[in-house]
Symmetry: C2
Subunit: 337 residues, 2 copies
DNA sequence: AGAGACGATGTGACCGTGCACATACAAGGA
DNA sequence: TCCTTGTATGTGCACGGTCACATCGTCTCT
């Protein structure tokens, strides 16, 4: 039937045009919803498209428009629950808007690594980037780099210029601490995240604010690394000093480790010490004792990021979101003094 | 200086050629490591590339070669720890090989949804797809669809044709069950994953195999949904019947919920009942009691998937991996009868 | 010395779109 | 009636690479 030279080639816009009896440009207009097309012509073209099972070639389109309809995610997280959940939100929102998503996991947060990652994404011609790089350092590197591409950072350092995007970490931490204060605790320790992390700073600030406002003593925060293992270690260390009755931990993983450490050291929670975490990971409601914590809507955060980024790409006014509210989930691990 | 008509255009292969005093084709050869290039010429070209900060346009390349150097991930998971970890492995391995990765989260596992997702990825012209769709149904839909694209499925249903990829779930479950048997338990219940999930089936099979071999009674497995909340519910239900002394749970989340349910119902673990989970999520070592579980290397699974997929794409012989070993992590939740 | 093989490079076409511009025809105002 | 304006469509080129083929010089073998 077909000539031997004819390989299985995908139908192109011209094949459609030939079948529909119009010019290729008319087909292009139909594809791009150009207003000046007679309904009759449009129908013919759509028929031909259906018959041939034609699909536009995105590479060709990207070549000529120099837009890829792709977003990049630059992730500098080790697979934490929060960021991972946000990524799902990002992907969903992006697909809904007709964008596909290319994810890049940063192995290190050195300026070189970040630079190379950005270059990689630029090569892929993404139209914009969502940065999930919760480290202060990363944030600064990005700022200094003068990225020539629209980008949105999920965790915005305080006092930054752009739109506020992250959930209100400070308020959440403050609420958690006030909860402990309300229970009658006056000696409250904070186990913080790593020095470099934006969220670690925010949560610590919320803790400090609440204590200062209540005129209570603050303790030098203990710097953790977000892992449950560190929490365990901290629990054992803290067992030696008994100058506190409550601990506010910067994330649930560490909090769960802490519970373990306390248990091994013979400290009872909440009888001897109250504990509050942050993030509300799915198992928080089931560990022993069940963990009081601060809930936040990670996927929604991702969705908002996409909306802002797309507005930026399209040159529209960016939607103004208020800070995402956090919710305190009170459970067994925190009890009255 | 420059003419007004000249927009900020990226340098092309021809700009490089002009500067280096060669033809555009020579530049192309340098970029593709063509053997027949004089070192001297190559150096000139590389210099010009550096001077202009030239970067090849991937869309143009994709257009002419009809290869995108992109892999797609088709994920049908709700954000479980395991698959998510595997995705990280996939992305890393893909980048190493010069591929970028486009992730697509499936919201439903209906044939239509899967079909539309596949079409979407095809539109994006990915060169191959890694499927993280642990449901039997998805697997069958894929098989029936005759996907015209190289793809690898992370969780392979038993008796499938291709390469075995998933960790040896059956063996892991068997080991876990044998561990309980070795502790003197003879009445062991299994809380399984959802009916449709491949891994749920494998783990159940391992459980049944071990019991049959030891000539012990089996119980009709309880079907869960992987969530900690379900585990809690199951714990409360199981508290009514006391015809067992051990439970093997198909994943850690449910196991942790189960511990909670038992605790609330006054059943002590491990004194009254032993519990073993599956996956070894990070908090498993810290819940109370610490959870015995089966460890598996999720990122490695992802990496292997990429290697197999790339071999398939390149038409090479697929590397043969043995099944990925699982490791039993014995902790407090399982004790002698 | 002539011929063929091979290495190094250049030339032009082509991939599948969108854009700028040209064209044809109909409608409306002076 | 003629000119203007607007709608519906067509024509050719550009985007930035790769591929097939042509060209030219050098080396080697007989």
């Amino acid at each position: 039937m077909s000539t031997a030279s004819e390989r299985a080639r995908m139908p192109s816009i011209r094949d459609v045009a030939r079948l529909a009896g119009v010019s290729h440009q008319t087909v292009s207009r139909v594809l791009n919803d150009h207003p000046s097309i007679r309904p009759e012509t449009k129908a013919k073209v759509l028929d031909a498209i259906a018959v041939l099972d034609y699909r536009p070639n995105l590479a060709a389109r990207a070549l000529v428009t120099s837009k890829s309809n792709m977003l990049g995610i630059l992730a500098a997280t080790v697979g934490e629950f929060g960021p991972t959940s946000s990524i799902v939100g990002i992907e969903d929102a992006a697909r809904e808007e007709g964008y596909s998503v290319s994810t890049l996991n940063l192995s290190a947060t050195t300026p070189e690594a970040i630079g190379s990652a950005l270059r990689q994404l630029a090569r892929e011609q993404v139209d914009g980037i969502v940065v999930l790089a919760p480290q202060v350092r990363t944030f600064h590197v990005l700022k200094g780099m003068a990225v020539e591409m629209p980008f949105v950072s999920l965790q915005t350092a305080s006092g930054s210029d752009g739109v506020t995007l992250s959930a209100d970490q400070v308020a959440g931490a403050r609420t958690a601490t006030e909860h402990l204060i309300g229970l009658g605790h006056s000696d409250i320790i904070h186990i913080a995240g790593p020095q470099d992390w934006i969220e670690a700073e925010s949560r610590m600030r919320g803790y400090l604010d609440a204590l200062r406002e209540a005129d209570l003593p603050t303790f030098p925060p203990i710097r953790g690394d977000w892992t449950a293992d560190f929490g365990y270690f901290a629990g054992q260390e803290l067992a030696r000093r008994r100058d506190f009755t409550a601990v506010f931990v910067a994330n649930d993983q560490m909090a769960i480790g802490l519970l373990h450490g306390f248990r091994d050291a013979g400290i009872r929670v909440p009888e001897d010490v109250s504990v509050v975490g942050f993030d509300d990971i799915p198992v928080a409601a089931h560990v022993a004792p069940t963990l009081s914590t601060v809930h936040q809507d990670f996927p929604e955060l991702g969705r908002r990021a996409v909306r802002i980024l797309l507005a930026q790409i399209r040159g529209e006014q960016a939607p103004q979101f208020g800070p995402l509210q956090t919710t305190l989930r009170t459970r067994e691990s925190s009890a009255p003094r």
